[in-house]
């Protein structure tokens, strides 16, 4: 199962994720982010993140692991006791079971 981990803590070294990490990125500062919104067919740009606020993700990891439980464990490993959080977002898969 694949999960996107959105980090709300400083990105850490990736050794703990070896064998499960597919890729990881560190985000640039939110102040140089822009949001593009479309309304009535007209696109408008606003400076700053899509959802304003002080809680902005600092980066993300894409991981492949056995289960949701394991993904939550990995999130705790990333936090390593530091204050902050990790959002664990399951990804859709193209495999499926008939019912």
């Amino acid at each position: 199962m694949k999960f996107l981990l959105n980090l709300y803590v400083e990105p850490t070294e990736e050794a703990a994720l070896a064998g499960e990490l597919l890729c990881g990125q560190v985000f640039a500062d939110p102040s140089i982010t822009a949001a593009v919104r479309s309304h009535d067919g007209v696109a408008a740009v606003t400076e700053g993140p899509y959802t304003p606020g002080s809680d902005q993700p600092t980066g993300c990891y894409l991981i492949d692991c056995d289960s949701r439980e394991r993904a939550l464990e990995v999130a705790a490993l990333i936090l390593a006791g530091r204050d902050g959080g990790v959002e664990v977002r399951p990804l859709m898969d193209s495999a499926g079971m008939e019912m």
């Binding site: 694949k2 064998g19 990490l21 597919l22 492949d64 898969d93 193209s94 079971m97 008939e98 019912m99």
Partner: protein, 389 residues
């Protein structure tokens, strides 16, 4: 490689046996695997030209052992002497080749490894897939898979090769490999579907090694009976087709017959187990008309033998088909409090299906939509949304 298919098939079958022998004698996963790879390469180039040796397996063991000796010679003189002695040991008193394959499977399914690592190592070391092939089958980058496999080998080294999870662990890993391939068998994921063939091939090898084990036969039967429906389970556009609506002419009769015979034979002469029961249920599902009462009874037994919420869910369906939808719906209520399944899409999909049967279409619609939100499978989501209308 220009080797004719016969040599390739032979090598594929022998590779895990030879690796098993080397590991048993010398240990050291990485080194042994390299030596076996070199021996296989030598065989693939020499045999088609010079003909098969009298004993292909001994030939490979001898060549691989010699390579292993060559490799360690420069490292450790002491170790070299031991290896040379070991390589000259007669083969007479050794376990059969199939046992070596099985022992290698035991090692790959070491309890110190996560299921994902067990699966990867099994495909690499026993199945003979390249790291790139394993990576592609699981839709992960090759670098990730390479790390996963080498970490697994290290972990086995640290944990010691003697402890293993036994036959249960091996069967579980083979089942995981099968399912990974089966659920993906459509459209862009066709190369993942090869995993079902690989799982069946390896399970056949275990069955040859343990012909009297009812659960091994049961798992093989379950795979064959499930795989028999592969061509009928998806529409050309990738949409999932439920069992009831599948074109039965597209089911593979030969696989159904083989699987049914296997499970019938196993159940008549070995203690009952979960794989045999699931295979028996799968065999009933491909008969016409479906004997739901028989299926219900088998689920009752399965629930006693290997209770889990997914079995309870399937039991509820069988109860609904024999005693009416409300009787099935009543059984689902307990599952709402079970954290293992309460938020699983299948519970809500089944409830929706039974509500539909009971004529409560409005409630059914809501539960189909709830199930569609909870699944992480695109084709399942599409199916559930279509059911919601």
């Amino acid at each position: 490689m220009s080797a004719p298919p016969r040599v390739e098939d032979l090598l594929r079958d022998l590779a895990p046996q030879v690796l098993g022998v080397l590991l048993r004698r010398h240990g050291g996963f990485e080194e042994c695997e390299d030596a076996v790879q070199e021996a296989l390469l030598a065989a693939a180039t020499q045999w088609p030209v010079e003909g098969l040796p009298d004993s292909p397996r001994s030939w490979l063991v001898t060549v691989a052992s010699r390579r292993l000796v060559d490799h360690v010679r420069s490292e450790q003189a002491r170790r070299r002497r031991e290896l040379t002695v070991a390589a000259m040991e007669p083969e007479g008193a050794e376990p059969s080749g199939h046992d070596d394959t099985l022992n290698l499977l035991f090692l790959c399914c070491h309890p110190a490894l996560s299921p994902a690592s067990q699966v990867a190592l099994t495909l690499r070391a026993v199945g003979g897939l390249t790291t790139a092939e394993v990576a592609r089958a699981f839709l992960v980058p090759e670098a990730t898979m390479a790390v996963r496999i080498s970490r697994a080998k290290q972990k086995i080294k640290t944990a010691g090769s003697f402890g293993h999870g036994g036959l249960d662990a091996v069967l579980h890993v083979l089942y995981l490999i099968f399912n990974e391939g089966y659920t993906a068998s459509s459209g862009p994921d066709l190369h993942r579907a090869e995993l079902t063939d690989e799982a069946i091939r390896l399970t056949r090898a275990v069955h040859r090694s343990r012909p009297d084990d009812g659960e091994v036969a049961g798992l093989l039967a379950l795979m064959l009976l499930t795989d028999a429906r592969r061509a009928a389970r998806t529409a050309p556009d990738g949409a999932l087709i439920p069992l009831d609506d599948q074109d039965r002419d597209r089911w593979d009769r030969a696989l159904i017959d083989e699987g049914t015979a296997l499970v019938t034979d196993a159940m008549s002469r070995s203690p009952l187990g979960p794989y045999q029961l699931q295979a028996a249920i799968a065999a009933l599902h491909v008969q016409s008309p479906t004997d739901w009462e028989q299926i219900r009874i088998l689920y009752v037994v399965l629930q006693r033998l290997a209770p889990n919420p997914m079995v309870t869910l399937n039991h509820a369906v069988a109860v609904a088909m024999t005693r009416g939808p409300q009787a099935g719906l009543d059984l689902l209520e307990d599952l709402d409090d079970d954290p293992r399944i309460a938020r699983h899409h299948r519970l809500h999909a089944v409830r929706a299906h039974l509500q539909d049967l009971a004529g409560d279409h409005e409630a059914a619609r809501e539960n189909y939509l709830l199930a569609a939100r909870l699944t992480t499978s695109l084709p399942e989501q599409r199916y559930l949304r279509e059911k919601a209308g």
